[in-house]
Symmetry: C2
Subunit: 219 residues, 2 copies
Amino acid sequence: MPRTRKGHETRARIVAATSELVRDRGVVNTSLDDVIERAAVSKSQLYLYFDSRDALLREVIVRNTELVLAGVADDLETGSWRAIRAWFDSMVEFQKAARSRGGCPVGSLVGQLAEGDEFARKRLAQSFDRWEEPLRAGLRAMKTRGTLRRSADVGAMATATMASIQGGLILSQARRDPGQLAIALNAAYAHLREGRKLTARANSAPRPTVARKRAGRRA
Amino acid sequence: MPRTRKGHETRARIVAATSELVRDRGVVNTSLDDVIERAAVSKSQLYLYFDSRDALLREVIVRNTELVLAGVADDLETGSWRAIRAWFDSMVEFQKAARSRGGCPVGSLVGQLAEGDEFARKRLAQSFDRWEEPLRAGLRAMKTRGTLRRSADVGAMATATMASIQGGLILSQARRDPGQLAIALNAAYAHLREGRKLTARANSAPRPTVARKRAGRRA
DNA sequence: TTGAATATGGACTATTCAGTCCAATAACGA
DNA sequence: TCGTTATTGGACTGAATAGTCCATATTCAA
Protein backbone atom coordinates (compact mmCIF):
# COMPACT_ATOMS: atom_id res chain seq x y z
CA MET A 1 0.00 0.00 0.00
CA PRO A 2 1.28 3.46 -0.89
CA ARG A 3 2.36 5.73 1.96
CA THR A 4 2.92 8.99 0.19
CA ARG A 5 0.51 11.15 -1.74
CA LYS A 6 2.38 10.42 -4.94
CA GLY A 7 2.13 6.71 -4.27
CA HIS A 8 -1.63 6.91 -3.87
CA GLU A 9 -1.95 8.80 -7.11
CA THR A 10 0.19 6.30 -8.95
CA ARG A 11 -1.79 3.36 -7.64
CA ALA A 12 -5.10 4.98 -8.51
CA ARG A 13 -3.83 5.81 -12.00
CA ILE A 14 -2.89 2.19 -12.58
CA VAL A 15 -6.29 0.87 -11.54
CA ALA A 16 -8.12 3.52 -13.57
CA ALA A 17 -6.07 2.77 -16.67
CA THR A 18 -6.69 -0.95 -16.29
CA SER A 19 -10.40 -0.41 -15.82
CA GLU A 20 -10.62 1.68 -18.98
CA LEU A 21 -8.60 -0.76 -21.06
CA VAL A 22 -10.71 -3.66 -19.84
CA ARG A 23 -13.87 -1.77 -20.70
CA ASP A 24 -12.65 -0.91 -24.19
CA ARG A 25 -10.98 -4.15 -25.24
CA GLY A 26 -11.77 -6.79 -22.63
CA VAL A 27 -9.54 -8.53 -20.11
CA VAL A 28 -7.93 -10.78 -22.74
CA ASN A 29 -6.66 -7.90 -24.79
CA THR A 30 -5.29 -5.93 -21.88
CA SER A 31 -1.63 -6.67 -21.14
CA LEU A 32 0.41 -5.17 -18.33
CA ASP A 33 2.51 -3.43 -20.95
CA ASP A 34 -0.66 -1.75 -22.20
CA VAL A 35 -1.46 -0.71 -18.64
CA ILE A 36 1.93 0.81 -17.89
CA GLU A 37 1.84 2.71 -21.14
CA ARG A 38 -1.64 4.12 -20.54
CA ALA A 39 -1.02 4.93 -16.87
CA ALA A 40 2.43 6.29 -17.70
CA VAL A 41 4.13 4.22 -15.01
CA SER A 42 6.83 1.56 -15.02
CA LYS A 43 6.66 -2.14 -14.36
CA SER A 44 8.21 -1.80 -10.93
CA GLN A 45 5.55 0.69 -9.88
CA LEU A 46 2.89 -1.75 -10.92
CA TYR A 47 4.45 -4.61 -9.00
CA LEU A 48 5.06 -2.39 -6.00
CA TYR A 49 1.32 -2.01 -5.48
CA PHE A 50 -0.03 -5.27 -6.91
CA ASP A 51 1.15 -8.80 -6.38
CA SER A 52 0.12 -10.04 -9.79
CA ARG A 53 -2.00 -9.33 -12.81
CA ASP A 54 -4.88 -11.16 -11.17
CA ALA A 55 -4.57 -9.00 -8.07
CA LEU A 56 -4.74 -5.90 -10.25
CA LEU A 57 -7.85 -7.17 -11.99
CA ARG A 58 -9.44 -7.79 -8.60
CA GLU A 59 -8.85 -4.14 -7.76
CA VAL A 60 -10.66 -3.24 -10.95
CA ILE A 61 -13.68 -5.09 -9.55
CA VAL A 62 -13.51 -2.93 -6.41
CA ARG A 63 -13.15 0.27 -8.40
CA ASN A 64 -15.96 -0.54 -10.80
CA THR A 65 -18.22 -1.50 -7.92
CA GLU A 66 -17.67 1.93 -6.37
CA LEU A 67 -18.43 3.37 -9.79
CA VAL A 68 -21.85 1.78 -10.10
CA LEU A 69 -22.68 2.44 -6.44
CA ALA A 70 -21.93 6.11 -7.03
CA GLY A 71 -24.65 6.03 -9.66
CA VAL A 72 -27.24 5.06 -7.07
CA ALA A 73 -28.93 8.15 -5.72
CA ASP A 74 -29.45 8.33 -1.95
CA ASP A 75 -33.19 8.62 -2.30
CA LEU A 76 -33.38 5.09 -3.67
CA GLU A 77 -32.90 3.82 -0.11
CA THR A 78 -35.58 6.21 1.08
CA GLY A 79 -37.97 4.24 -1.07
CA SER A 80 -40.23 5.64 -3.76
CA TRP A 81 -41.39 4.63 -7.21
CA ARG A 82 -40.03 7.88 -8.52
CA ALA A 83 -36.54 7.12 -7.20
CA ILE A 84 -36.57 3.65 -8.75
CA ARG A 85 -37.70 5.03 -12.10
CA ALA A 86 -35.00 7.73 -11.95
CA TRP A 87 -32.37 5.11 -11.14
CA PHE A 88 -33.42 3.03 -14.14
CA ASP A 89 -33.43 6.06 -16.42
CA SER A 90 -29.96 7.09 -15.29
CA MET A 91 -28.64 3.66 -16.22
CA VAL A 92 -30.07 3.94 -19.70
CA GLU A 93 -28.50 7.38 -20.03
CA PHE A 94 -25.18 6.00 -18.87
CA GLN A 95 -25.38 3.25 -21.45
CA LYS A 96 -26.27 5.71 -24.18
CA ALA A 97 -23.26 7.81 -23.27
CA ALA A 98 -21.02 4.75 -23.47
CA ARG A 99 -22.52 3.97 -26.87
CA SER A 100 -23.31 0.50 -25.55
CA ARG A 101 -19.65 -0.37 -25.26
CA GLY A 102 -18.25 -2.56 -22.52
CA GLY A 103 -21.55 -3.61 -20.98
CA CYS A 104 -21.81 -3.52 -17.21
CA PRO A 105 -18.61 -2.40 -15.42
CA VAL A 106 -19.21 -5.17 -12.90
CA GLY A 107 -21.32 -7.75 -14.70
CA SER A 108 -19.12 -7.99 -17.77
CA LEU A 109 -16.29 -9.12 -15.49
CA VAL A 110 -18.20 -12.21 -14.38
CA GLY A 111 -17.78 -13.96 -17.71
CA GLN A 112 -14.17 -12.87 -17.95
CA LEU A 113 -12.94 -13.65 -14.45
CA ALA A 114 -15.34 -15.90 -12.55
CA GLU A 115 -14.22 -19.25 -13.97
CA GLY A 116 -10.53 -18.47 -13.84
CA ASP A 117 -10.19 -16.79 -10.45
CA GLU A 118 -12.28 -17.94 -7.52
CA PHE A 119 -11.34 -14.89 -5.44
CA ALA A 120 -12.57 -12.63 -8.19
CA ARG A 121 -15.81 -14.59 -8.41
CA LYS A 122 -16.51 -14.12 -4.71
CA ARG A 123 -15.73 -10.47 -4.92
CA LEU A 124 -18.13 -10.07 -7.82
CA ALA A 125 -20.85 -11.81 -5.82
CA GLN A 126 -20.25 -9.32 -3.02
CA SER A 127 -20.43 -6.47 -5.49
CA PHE A 128 -23.89 -7.58 -6.52
CA ASP A 129 -24.90 -7.81 -2.85
CA ARG A 130 -23.81 -4.23 -2.24
CA TRP A 131 -25.45 -3.03 -5.44
CA GLU A 132 -28.77 -4.67 -4.58
CA GLU A 133 -28.81 -3.40 -1.01
CA PRO A 134 -30.03 0.17 -1.65
CA LEU A 135 -33.00 -1.21 -3.59
CA ARG A 136 -33.77 -3.72 -0.87
CA ALA A 137 -33.63 -0.91 1.71
CA GLY A 138 -35.91 1.21 -0.43
CA LEU A 139 -38.43 -1.59 -0.89
CA ARG A 140 -38.40 -2.30 2.86
CA ALA A 141 -39.05 1.37 3.54
CA MET A 142 -41.94 1.31 1.08
CA LYS A 143 -43.42 -1.62 2.91
CA THR A 144 -43.29 0.26 6.19
CA ARG A 145 -44.73 3.32 4.57
CA GLY A 146 -47.49 1.23 3.07
CA THR A 147 -46.79 1.78 -0.62
CA LEU A 148 -45.65 -1.82 -1.06
CA ARG A 149 -47.57 -4.94 -0.09
CA ARG A 150 -46.34 -6.56 3.13
CA SER A 151 -46.37 -9.93 1.38
CA ALA A 152 -43.87 -8.75 -1.22
CA ASP A 153 -40.57 -10.67 -1.23
CA VAL A 154 -38.03 -7.86 -1.13
CA GLY A 155 -35.01 -10.10 -1.67
CA ALA A 156 -36.51 -11.78 -4.73
CA MET A 157 -37.62 -8.44 -6.14
CA ALA A 158 -34.13 -7.00 -5.81
CA THR A 159 -32.55 -10.06 -7.39
CA ALA A 160 -35.01 -10.11 -10.28
CA THR A 161 -34.36 -6.42 -10.84
CA MET A 162 -30.60 -6.93 -10.85
CA ALA A 163 -31.09 -9.75 -13.37
CA SER A 164 -33.01 -7.41 -15.67
CA ILE A 165 -30.26 -4.81 -15.33
CA GLN A 166 -27.50 -7.30 -16.11
CA GLY A 167 -29.37 -9.01 -18.92
CA GLY A 168 -30.41 -5.68 -20.40
CA LEU A 169 -26.80 -4.55 -20.40
CA ILE A 170 -25.61 -7.76 -22.08
CA LEU A 171 -28.21 -7.43 -24.82
CA SER A 172 -27.34 -3.74 -25.23
CA GLN A 173 -23.68 -4.62 -25.57
CA ALA A 174 -24.25 -7.46 -28.03
CA ARG A 175 -26.67 -5.46 -30.16
CA ARG A 176 -25.00 -2.11 -29.65
CA ASP A 177 -28.39 -0.67 -28.76
CA PRO A 178 -29.14 1.04 -25.42
CA GLY A 179 -32.83 0.53 -26.19
CA GLN A 180 -32.41 -3.10 -25.15
CA LEU A 181 -31.63 -1.99 -21.61
CA ALA A 182 -34.60 0.37 -21.67
CA ILE A 183 -36.93 -2.50 -22.60
CA ALA A 184 -35.55 -4.74 -19.86
CA LEU A 185 -35.84 -2.00 -17.25
CA ASN A 186 -39.36 -1.03 -18.28
CA ALA A 187 -40.38 -4.63 -17.75
CA ALA A 188 -38.56 -4.74 -14.41
CA TYR A 189 -40.30 -1.53 -13.33
CA ALA A 190 -43.71 -2.83 -14.32
CA HIS A 191 -43.01 -6.03 -12.42
CA LEU A 192 -41.99 -4.14 -9.27
CA ARG A 193 -45.12 -2.02 -9.48
CA GLU A 194 -47.23 -5.13 -9.45
CA GLY A 195 -46.23 -5.40 -5.80
CA ARG A 196 -47.65 -2.03 -4.86
CA LYS A 197 -50.45 -1.51 -2.44
CA LEU A 198 -53.53 0.19 -3.81
CA THR A 199 -54.84 2.83 -1.43
CA ALA A 200 -56.98 5.91 -1.80
CA ARG A 201 -53.80 8.00 -1.71
CA ALA A 202 -52.14 5.97 -4.42
CA ASN A 203 -54.61 6.59 -7.18
CA SER A 204 -52.55 9.35 -8.71
CA ALA A 205 -50.39 6.55 -10.06
CA PRO A 206 -51.56 4.95 -13.32
CA ARG A 207 -53.60 1.78 -13.08
CA PRO A 208 -51.77 -1.53 -13.72
CA THR A 209 -52.89 -2.03 -17.30
CA VAL A 210 -51.95 1.45 -18.37
CA ALA A 211 -48.57 1.34 -16.67
CA ARG A 212 -47.69 -1.94 -18.30
CA LYS A 213 -48.75 -0.85 -21.73
CA ARG A 214 -46.83 2.37 -21.52
CA ALA A 215 -43.71 0.52 -20.43
CA GLY A 216 -43.99 -1.80 -23.39
CA ARG A 217 -44.43 0.99 -25.91
CA ARG A 218 -41.68 3.13 -24.57
CA ALA A 219 -39.23 0.41 -25.48
CA MET B 1 -14.19 -27.35 -44.77
CA PRO B 2 -13.72 -31.10 -44.28
CA ARG B 3 -14.69 -33.39 -47.19
CA THR B 4 -14.36 -36.77 -45.59
CA ARG B 5 -16.28 -38.28 -42.73
CA LYS B 6 -13.13 -38.34 -40.63
CA GLY B 7 -12.53 -34.69 -41.38
CA HIS B 8 -15.99 -33.77 -40.16
CA GLU B 9 -15.49 -35.72 -36.98
CA THR B 10 -12.14 -34.07 -36.35
CA ARG B 11 -13.52 -30.61 -36.92
CA ALA B 12 -16.49 -31.25 -34.66
CA ARG B 13 -14.21 -32.66 -31.96
CA ILE B 14 -12.09 -29.51 -32.05
CA VAL B 15 -15.07 -27.19 -31.67
CA ALA B 16 -16.57 -29.33 -28.91
CA ALA B 17 -13.32 -29.42 -26.98
CA THR B 18 -12.93 -25.66 -27.29
CA SER B 19 -16.49 -25.08 -26.16
CA GLU B 20 -15.98 -27.22 -23.06
CA LEU B 21 -12.68 -25.62 -22.17
CA VAL B 22 -14.15 -22.16 -22.58
CA ARG B 23 -17.07 -23.11 -20.37
CA ASP B 24 -14.82 -24.52 -17.67
CA ARG B 25 -12.01 -21.98 -17.60
CA GLY B 26 -13.00 -19.06 -19.79
CA VAL B 27 -11.62 -17.85 -23.11
CA VAL B 28 -8.50 -16.35 -21.51
CA ASN B 29 -7.39 -19.62 -20.01
CA THR B 30 -7.97 -21.70 -23.09
CA SER B 31 -4.90 -22.01 -25.31
CA LEU B 32 -4.73 -23.82 -28.61
CA ASP B 33 -2.36 -26.30 -27.00
CA ASP B 34 -5.08 -27.07 -24.46
CA VAL B 35 -7.52 -27.57 -27.31
CA ILE B 36 -5.35 -29.95 -29.31
CA GLU B 37 -4.65 -31.97 -26.19
CA ARG B 38 -8.31 -32.26 -25.22
CA ALA B 39 -9.53 -32.94 -28.75
CA ALA B 40 -6.60 -35.31 -29.34
CA VAL B 41 -5.66 -33.65 -32.61
CA SER B 42 -2.54 -31.89 -33.88
CA LYS B 43 -1.88 -28.26 -34.63
CA SER B 44 -2.04 -28.78 -38.37
CA GLN B 45 -5.50 -30.32 -38.09
CA LEU B 46 -6.65 -27.29 -36.18
CA TYR B 47 -5.26 -24.88 -38.74
CA LEU B 48 -6.61 -26.96 -41.59
CA TYR B 49 -10.17 -26.20 -40.49
CA PHE B 50 -9.79 -22.81 -38.83
CA ASP B 51 -7.96 -19.73 -40.01
CA SER B 52 -7.09 -18.50 -36.56
CA ARG B 53 -7.88 -18.78 -32.89
CA ASP B 54 -10.53 -16.07 -33.30
CA ALA B 55 -12.15 -18.04 -36.12
CA LEU B 56 -12.29 -21.09 -33.88
CA LEU B 57 -13.91 -19.10 -31.09
CA ARG B 58 -16.50 -17.82 -33.55
CA GLU B 59 -17.39 -21.43 -34.34
CA VAL B 60 -17.90 -21.97 -30.64
CA ILE B 61 -20.56 -19.25 -30.79
CA VAL B 62 -22.33 -21.16 -33.56
CA ARG B 63 -22.11 -24.46 -31.72
CA ASN B 64 -23.32 -23.05 -28.42
CA THR B 65 -26.18 -21.30 -30.16
CA GLU B 66 -27.33 -24.63 -31.59
CA LEU B 67 -26.98 -26.02 -28.09
CA VAL B 68 -29.36 -23.54 -26.49
CA LEU B 69 -31.76 -23.70 -29.43
CA ALA B 70 -31.91 -27.48 -28.97
CA GLY B 71 -33.17 -26.79 -25.46
CA VAL B 72 -36.20 -24.96 -26.80
CA ALA B 73 -39.09 -27.38 -27.13
CA ASP B 74 -41.15 -27.15 -30.33
CA ASP B 75 -44.34 -26.39 -28.43
CA LEU B 76 -42.92 -23.05 -27.33
CA GLU B 77 -43.62 -21.75 -30.84
CA THR B 78 -47.10 -23.19 -30.66
CA GLY B 79 -47.74 -20.78 -27.83
CA SER B 80 -48.96 -21.65 -24.36
CA TRP B 81 -48.24 -20.57 -20.81
CA ARG B 82 -47.43 -24.17 -19.98
CA ALA B 83 -44.75 -24.33 -22.68
CA ILE B 84 -43.17 -21.09 -21.49
CA ARG B 85 -43.14 -22.30 -17.90
CA ALA B 86 -41.63 -25.64 -18.99
CA TRP B 87 -38.94 -23.83 -20.97
CA PHE B 88 -38.02 -21.73 -17.94
CA ASP B 89 -37.96 -24.77 -15.68
CA SER B 90 -35.71 -26.67 -18.07
CA MET B 91 -33.21 -23.82 -17.99
CA VAL B 92 -33.10 -23.89 -14.22
CA GLU B 93 -32.56 -27.65 -14.34
CA PHE B 94 -29.78 -27.20 -16.88
CA GLN B 95 -28.10 -24.67 -14.63
CA LYS B 96 -28.45 -26.94 -11.61
CA ALA B 97 -26.83 -29.76 -13.57
CA ALA B 98 -23.95 -27.46 -14.51
CA ARG B 99 -23.62 -26.51 -10.84
CA SER B 100 -23.86 -22.87 -11.91
CA ARG B 101 -20.58 -23.06 -13.77
CA GLY B 102 -19.87 -21.23 -16.98
CA GLY B 103 -23.05 -19.17 -17.07
CA CYS B 104 -24.88 -18.94 -20.37
CA PRO B 105 -23.16 -20.81 -23.24
CA VAL B 106 -23.93 -17.83 -25.46
CA GLY B 107 -24.27 -14.88 -23.11
CA SER B 108 -21.03 -15.46 -21.26
CA LEU B 109 -19.21 -15.05 -24.57
CA VAL B 110 -20.43 -11.48 -24.96
CA GLY B 111 -18.19 -10.13 -22.22
CA GLN B 112 -15.30 -12.23 -23.43
CA LEU B 113 -15.44 -11.61 -27.17
CA ALA B 114 -17.66 -8.65 -28.06
CA GLU B 115 -15.17 -5.84 -27.43
CA GLY B 116 -12.25 -7.64 -29.02
CA ASP B 117 -13.81 -9.13 -32.14
CA GLU B 118 -16.52 -7.24 -34.00
CA PHE B 119 -17.43 -10.29 -36.09
CA ALA B 120 -18.01 -12.28 -32.94
CA ARG B 121 -20.16 -9.49 -31.52
CA LYS B 122 -22.42 -9.49 -34.57
CA ARG B 123 -22.70 -13.23 -34.49
CA LEU B 124 -23.70 -13.13 -30.82
CA ALA B 125 -26.38 -10.56 -31.62
CA GLN B 126 -27.72 -12.94 -34.27
CA SER B 127 -27.69 -15.77 -31.77
CA PHE B 128 -29.93 -13.79 -29.46
CA ASP B 129 -32.25 -13.05 -32.39
CA ARG B 130 -32.58 -16.73 -33.18
CA TRP B 131 -33.03 -17.61 -29.53
CA GLU B 132 -35.80 -15.07 -29.04
CA GLU B 133 -37.66 -16.05 -32.18
CA PRO B 134 -39.47 -19.16 -30.87
CA LEU B 135 -40.83 -17.12 -27.95
CA ARG B 136 -41.93 -14.34 -30.26
CA ALA B 137 -43.66 -16.89 -32.47
CA GLY B 138 -45.35 -18.42 -29.46
CA LEU B 139 -46.56 -15.06 -28.18
CA ARG B 140 -47.89 -14.14 -31.63
CA ALA B 141 -49.75 -17.44 -31.76
CA MET B 142 -51.22 -16.73 -28.33
CA LYS B 143 -52.44 -13.37 -29.57
CA THR B 144 -54.22 -14.99 -32.48
CA ARG B 145 -55.67 -17.62 -30.20
CA GLY B 146 -56.84 -14.92 -27.83
CA THR B 147 -54.87 -15.89 -24.74
CA LEU B 148 -52.67 -12.81 -25.05
CA ARG B 149 -53.85 -9.21 -25.33
CA ARG B 150 -53.66 -7.80 -28.87
CA SER B 151 -52.02 -4.68 -27.47
CA ALA B 152 -49.07 -6.68 -26.06
CA ASP B 153 -45.69 -5.77 -27.55
CA VAL B 154 -44.33 -9.18 -28.53
CA GLY B 155 -40.85 -7.93 -29.41
CA ALA B 156 -40.42 -6.09 -26.13
CA MET B 157 -41.73 -9.06 -24.16
CA ALA B 158 -39.25 -11.41 -25.83
CA THR B 159 -36.36 -9.02 -25.24
CA ALA B 160 -37.28 -8.46 -21.60
CA THR B 161 -37.52 -12.22 -21.13
CA MET B 162 -34.13 -12.79 -22.70
CA ALA B 163 -32.71 -10.11 -20.41
CA SER B 164 -34.08 -11.96 -17.37
CA ILE B 165 -32.56 -15.19 -18.65
CA GLN B 166 -29.17 -13.64 -19.24
CA GLY B 167 -29.12 -11.66 -16.02
CA GLY B 168 -30.36 -14.62 -14.04
CA LEU B 169 -27.55 -16.73 -15.46
CA ILE B 170 -24.93 -14.11 -14.62
CA LEU B 171 -26.14 -13.86 -11.05
CA SER B 172 -26.26 -17.67 -10.79
CA GLN B 173 -22.71 -17.88 -12.07
CA ALA B 174 -21.38 -15.17 -9.78
CA ARG B 175 -23.16 -16.51 -6.71
CA ARG B 176 -22.87 -20.18 -7.67
CA ASP B 177 -26.57 -20.52 -6.97
CA PRO B 178 -29.09 -21.74 -9.58
CA GLY B 179 -31.83 -20.26 -7.38
CA GLN B 180 -30.86 -16.84 -8.73
CA LEU B 181 -31.97 -17.90 -12.20
CA ALA B 182 -35.19 -19.32 -10.78
CA ILE B 183 -35.99 -15.98 -9.13
CA ALA B 184 -35.30 -14.05 -12.33
CA LEU B 185 -37.40 -16.43 -14.42
CA ASN B 186 -40.30 -16.43 -11.98
CA ALA B 187 -40.38 -12.66 -12.24
CA ALA B 188 -40.16 -12.86 -16.04
CA TYR B 189 -43.02 -15.37 -16.11
CA ALA B 190 -45.19 -13.23 -13.86
CA HIS B 191 -44.48 -10.25 -16.08
CA LEU B 192 -45.42 -12.14 -19.25
CA ARG B 193 -48.65 -13.33 -17.62
CA GLU B 194 -49.63 -9.74 -16.96
CA GLY B 195 -50.18 -9.52 -20.71
CA ARG B 196 -52.76 -12.30 -20.77
CA LYS B 197 -56.34 -11.85 -21.79
CA LEU B 198 -58.90 -12.67 -19.14
CA THR B 199 -61.78 -14.64 -20.58
CA ALA B 200 -64.39 -16.94 -19.16
CA ARG B 201 -62.28 -19.87 -20.34
CA ALA B 202 -59.16 -18.53 -18.70
CA ASN B 203 -60.36 -18.54 -15.12
CA SER B 204 -58.74 -21.85 -14.40
CA ALA B 205 -55.49 -19.89 -14.30
CA PRO B 206 -54.63 -18.26 -10.96
CA ARG B 207 -55.54 -14.63 -10.49
CA PRO B 208 -52.74 -12.07 -10.93
CA THR B 209 -52.05 -11.55 -7.25
CA VAL B 210 -51.79 -15.23 -6.51
CA ALA B 211 -49.57 -15.89 -9.51
CA ARG B 212 -47.16 -13.18 -8.52
CA LYS B 213 -46.98 -14.24 -4.91
CA ARG B 214 -46.38 -17.84 -5.84
CA ALA B 215 -43.61 -16.87 -8.20
CA GLY B 216 -41.91 -14.86 -5.49
CA ARG B 217 -42.12 -17.64 -2.91
CA ARG B 218 -40.93 -20.36 -5.24
CA ALA B 219 -37.60 -18.54 -5.53
C1' DT C 1 -5.84 -50.95 -57.78
C1' DT C 2 -3.94 -46.44 -58.09
C1' DG C 3 -2.96 -41.78 -57.67
C1' DA C 4 -4.76 -37.36 -56.52
C1' DA C 5 -6.97 -35.07 -52.85
C1' DT C 6 -7.51 -34.87 -48.06
C1' DA C 7 -6.05 -35.44 -43.43
C1' DT C 8 -2.48 -35.99 -39.81
C1' DG C 9 1.88 -35.50 -36.78
C1' DG C 10 4.73 -32.73 -34.69
C1' DA C 11 8.91 -29.94 -34.84
C1' DC C 12 9.97 -25.14 -35.26
C1' DT C 13 9.72 -19.91 -34.99
C1' DA C 14 8.90 -15.38 -33.62
C1' DT C 15 6.58 -12.86 -30.43
C1' DT C 16 4.24 -11.56 -26.51
C1' DC C 17 3.92 -11.19 -21.86
C1' DA C 18 3.99 -11.81 -16.68
C1' DG C 19 7.09 -11.32 -13.44
C1' DT C 20 12.18 -10.18 -11.44
C1' DC C 21 15.92 -7.32 -10.20
C1' DC C 22 18.69 -3.55 -9.06
C1' DA C 23 20.23 0.93 -9.45
C1' DA C 24 18.69 5.74 -9.20
C1' DT C 25 15.68 9.28 -7.44
C1' DA C 26 12.28 11.63 -4.58
C1' DA C 27 9.79 12.28 -0.26
C1' DC C 28 9.64 12.72 4.56
C1' DG C 29 10.48 12.56 9.54
C1' DA C 30 13.77 13.78 13.16
C1' DT D 1 19.98 19.16 6.97
C1' DC D 2 20.44 14.24 6.75
C1' DG D 3 19.53 9.60 6.67
C1' DT D 4 15.92 6.39 6.05
C1' DT D 5 12.10 4.86 3.63
C1' DA D 6 9.15 5.06 -0.36
C1' DT D 7 9.04 5.46 -5.18
C1' DT D 8 10.58 5.13 -9.92
C1' DG D 9 12.92 3.49 -14.45
C1' DG D 10 13.73 0.08 -17.33
C1' DA D 11 16.55 -3.80 -18.74
C1' DC D 12 16.18 -8.68 -18.46
C1' DT D 13 14.36 -13.59 -18.19
C1' DG D 14 11.83 -17.66 -18.87
C1' DA D 15 7.70 -19.53 -20.14
C1' DA D 16 3.67 -19.68 -22.93
C1' DT D 17 1.55 -19.30 -27.13
C1' DA D 18 -0.29 -18.34 -31.93
C1' DG D 19 0.87 -19.54 -36.11
C1' DT D 20 4.05 -22.00 -40.00
C1' DC D 21 5.82 -25.76 -42.53
C1' DC D 22 6.63 -30.08 -44.47
C1' DA D 23 6.86 -34.93 -44.44
C1' DT D 24 3.80 -38.87 -43.87
C1' DA D 25 -0.46 -41.35 -43.84
C1' DT D 26 -5.17 -42.07 -45.07
C1' DT D 27 -9.27 -41.71 -47.91
C1' DC D 28 -11.84 -42.00 -51.94
C1' DA D 29 -13.22 -41.83 -56.65
C1' DA D 30 -12.26 -43.63 -61.09
